[in-house]
Amino acid sequence: MWKKLRTHPVLLGSLLPILLLAAWEILSRAGVIPAYQLPAPSAILSTIITYLQDGTLQDHVLLTVYRLFVGFIIGTIAAILLGTLVGYSELAERFFDPLIQAFRSIPSLAWVPLFILWMGIGETSKVTLIAVGVFFPVYLNIVDGIRGVDRKLIEVGRMYGLDGVALVRRIILPASLPSFLTGLRSGLGLGWMFVVAAEIMGASQGLGYLLILGQNTYSPDVIIASIFLFALLGKLTDWVLKLIQKRSLHWQDTALAK
């Protein structure tokens, strides 16, 4: 029994959450924790089910995921273009990088008022904010990745007559793929952070809106339900990227490769 618990991949790690959930449920039911502050897990679950049944939860989730996705794609594309250029060309680095680094030191949430002022409270400002959040980690990792490409492999490429675009395509991009994928994953993490921020700032739909709704209507169950959904979706999307990472980097000679 103990041996099975110790070696099973999931069992040991899920022990503590299960115990905590059980304690929480019991304490809530016994009235030790007041329900208007922290409702029982079962109450939160039933809130989620109610929202699911009337179809509103799906709409909220879809819209949030949609915003994240569009912002993520835009931020990533911008990062790929600029990152490849800056990583590859020293001239481009000296031209672009100081400005980009300066912008990076602005906490991205500080943009919110300006974006709302410029683009209104609609989708554009939200997506822009998410794109800005995603851009920096992806950009930095691409630049680092390209810089970090083994000079020895570049020499192999040159020995076989490659230069310019062919060298980038056949040596530099595949060699910097690990770093790029790491960037994508941290970019996605930041993307989730910014989608919450964007939706808290003003939205009439989305999981972030549910947070505010819960706050305004004194419904902690709605808040916790949406926090839970954020966690679930964040984990799910990261898992997808992790899977892609594992698939495309199976050639890597690292301890994690196995």
């Binding site: 020895k152 492999l153 020499e155 192999v156 040159r158 020995m159 076989y160 007559g161 040596i171 595949p174 060699a175 793929l177 199976h250 050639w251 890597q252 000679d253 490769a257």
Partner: protein, 250 residues
């Protein structure tokens, strides 16, 4: 004459590493560049390969001569299989390229390993794959930069035999950089000795021994002794008498 080097010099910053290196290599010759570490022998090879263009002097290689390079480390692309690595230098039809690459993989004894990734290879296998990658392009001149120095003694001997076999079948010109006197003597028609600070070509020794050579033979032993004497610190004051003796032996 396949390849000619005239007044080759190279400095890194203030430091002059090579100066006035002159030599030429004939078609189908095996020539070793021998010297202590840091003497600039790899620098000569990199200049020959076109990987370094900041040298002084003149290197002439006829434009129809294809140059292949084998590095000290295998330098396989880790994201490609052995077969894909072997076809890396080829253009054109993929099927044809793969068929060709397979022939060379068989020659280097990697027939069974074509689907493996570099991380799954031993050091010797990886270097064999690198040799196949260079051979696939059918180079007229093969440059090797201490290609076996990271391998164990047995693997090293196997690959030296392989190199001779390749040379016999293809007749390619081979220029080999090494710090291993035994290796230079076993393989080469000529041994070029780089010496001095900055280095220059101290000796051009013709090893007129027939192949196959026997590794432990007295003749090679004598050569080795002489070369060791030459290398031993007498950088500025060569024993010219000894040099003449070596010359006569040839």
């Amino acid at each position: 004459m396949t390849l000619q080097v005239k007044a080759l010099g190279r400095s890194f910053g203030e430091k002059q590493v090579l100066q006035q290196v002159n030599f030429s290599v004939g078609k189908g010759e095996i020539v070793s560049l021998l010297g202590t570490s840091g003497c600039g022998k790899s620098t000569v090879l990199r200049a020959l390969a076109g990987l370094d263009n900041d040298y002084e002097g003149n290197i002439s290689i006829p434009s129809d001569q294809r140059v292949g390079f084998i590095f000290q480390e295998p330098r396989l692309l880790p994201w490609k299989t052995v077969l894909a690595n072997a076809t890396f230098g080829l253009k054109g039809d993929r099927k044809e390229n793969e068929a060709k690459a397979r022939r060379y993989l068989e020659l280097v004894g990697l027939k069974e390993a074509e689907k493996l990734y570099p991380r799954e290879l031993s050091g010797g296998m990886a270097q064999r794959a690198a040799i196949a990658r260079a051979l696939v392009t059918e180079p007229d001149i093969l440059l090797l930069d201490e290609p076996f120095s990271a391998l164990d003694a047995f693997t090293k001997m196997q690959l030296q035999e392989l190199l001779l076999k390749i040379w016999e079948t293809t007749g390619t010109t081979i220029i080999l950089v090494t710090h291993d006197i035994d290796e230079a003597l076993y393989l080469s028609d000529r041994v070029l000795l780089l010496q001095g600070r900055p280095s220059t070509l101290a000796k051009d020794l013709k090893i007129a021994l027939t192949r196959p050579r026997s590794r432990g033979s007295a003749a090679l032993g004598k050569w080795k002794e002489d070369i060791l004497d030459l290398l031993e610190g007498k950088e500025q004051t060569y024993d010219y008498k000894l040099v003449t003796e070596i010359g006569q032996k040839a």
